[in-house]
Symmetry: C2
Subunit: 260 residues, 2 copies
DNA sequence: CGCCGAATTGATCTGATTCAAGTGCGGTGG
DNA sequence: CCACCGCACTTGAATCAGATCAATTCGGCG
């Protein structure tokens, strides 16, 4: 299945790339690049604990010293790939897809800048899903063994990783509740509000944004068919809750959406 | 809602309680008891990393020094309780239930002896679900702050916690796939096979076992109504895949169940 | 300009829910 | 010891939400 996501980013909010001295340190594989440091990264508040000292940040910079660019539709990793690193999204967005042996696919999440990828690979030593870029994206590579070492020395960092993993468990619990108990209408409303909240938390507009994924991918995430997703969008539009124009979404009445 | 689980355990497989010198050390709250040590626990292979030295086990015994008994239908913890410890189930079983603000309930998992409870409470510092005993049960209390300290010193233990959390993420991903893509029939089949596998891994029979939860709870876990669960049991019975007699389940044709 | 995949919309079908009427079993009290 | 009660479970019939099938329309791109 090819990935859609035709729209270009339109936000002028925090981008990951910065005018920062680049620490050149290529490491083998082609699509890896040297990268600006955590200590200077605009996403730091989101992917790292807030209370790190400059000293500790320097330690981090030692370990998280390369990034990787992934083109739209390409995989950052695939299920069964050996697990070595987790990834922090610097720019762009991804979907994670699990596949059943019978070919059935399910999208387990959409990740945007500041989110983390790969935590599910720790167990079993290999990736458990495909992570596919929804647009051209850049991730920071965080070698897990080295991260573990850091966590043994740096309490806030240790705690932060537990927090991240626990949050992911909680997020998935909510998604299970959504899939298990909500109507199609409620699922789509919840999905839009959740996206809105996350964009807002990252300095983008929470009221108007671009979907980087197709209706089919949304449906696959929400446990329904793309036609149903489309119908719900139309319904919300009729009810003046959202303005949906292809991939551009404008939330007109967040209150109302929440009450659905 | 009252919990059912009328049947008594009938297995003579590994039980948690053992004739081991009891390290008496009451700690405040009434329903806590001193407890046999990890170093002597039959569940250790399941809830702890295998490669611990006797020395390291002794350290664990220092920290995991109390248990708690929970009667059928009672809560080990409830959503919004302050998070302090995680729990390892020594004997018995639980369900974890998340509740939406509108009162909608969803069962996120069933846990049996050897499983861990409370990992989702780490983030936000408070519990995110109710953990309700499906039968009279006993858990080991693992104070999380102390566990974190141990993990900073004990590499295998540190890794083990990451593994456990990652496994939980993977388990929930599979459950999302189940909820998002499978028919009622497939969900129930998957549920039975999964339970079977887990019982087997703990030394119980994988072919015949007792459900400790009601049809309603199963339905709430699988995203369907109790009537549908019941119908699927009847269907499998007609097809000679399982023998379902109230809460007693005998799997006649695991192969066939898997093919559903 | 024309093509192709994505999205919308309508008509129909179906698996699961809902509603309703039993059945079976364990526990209680006479 | 048995009759009765309550609760979980089963089963059938009617209904409905969402899936499926099908026909356009839209929109980005070569």
């Amino acid at each position: 299945m090819q990935v859609a996501a035709a729209c270009e980013p339109r936000h002028d909010a925090p981008r990951a790339s910065r005018a920062v001295p680049i620490h050149v340190m290529p490491r083998g594989a082609a699509p890896r690049h040297a990268t600006p440091r955590c200590s200077a990264c605009a996403m730091r508040q989101i992917c790292m604990p807030p209370e790190l000292t400059p000293d500790q940040l320097a330690q981090l910079d030692e370990v998280i010293c390369s990034t990787r660019s992934i083109k739209r539709g390409e995989a950052l990793y695939r299920a069964a790939d050996p697990f070595q690193s987790i990834y922090a999204i610097r720019a762009g967005s991804f979907k994670t897809v699990v596949m059943h042996r019978d070919g059935r696919e399910h999208v387990t999440g959409f990740q945007i800048a500041g989110d983390t990828l790969g935590l599910d690979g720790i167990c079993g030593g290999k990736q458990n899903c495909d992570a596919i870029a929804l647009e051209d994206s850049v991730v920071c590579i965080i070698p897990f063994t080295q991260l573990e070492a850091i966590c043994r020395e740096m309490k806030p960092m240790q705690h932060h990783i537990y927090q991240m993993m626990s949050s992911e468990i909680v997020r998935e619990s909510s998604q299970m509740m959504l899939l298990g108990t909500m109507s199609a209408e409620q699922r789509v409303a919840t999905f839009l509000l959740n996206l809105s909240k996350r964009f807002k938390a990252r300095g983008f507009s929470g009221a108007e944004f671009h979907l980087r994924m197709t209706r089919e991918e949304i449906g696959c995430f929400l446990g329904m068919k793309l036609e149903t997703v489309s119908r719900m969008f139309s319904k919300f539009q009729r009810e003046r809750l959202v303005q949906a124009n292809g991939k551009t979404i404008r939330i007109e009445d967040a209150e109302g959406l929440g009450r659905v």
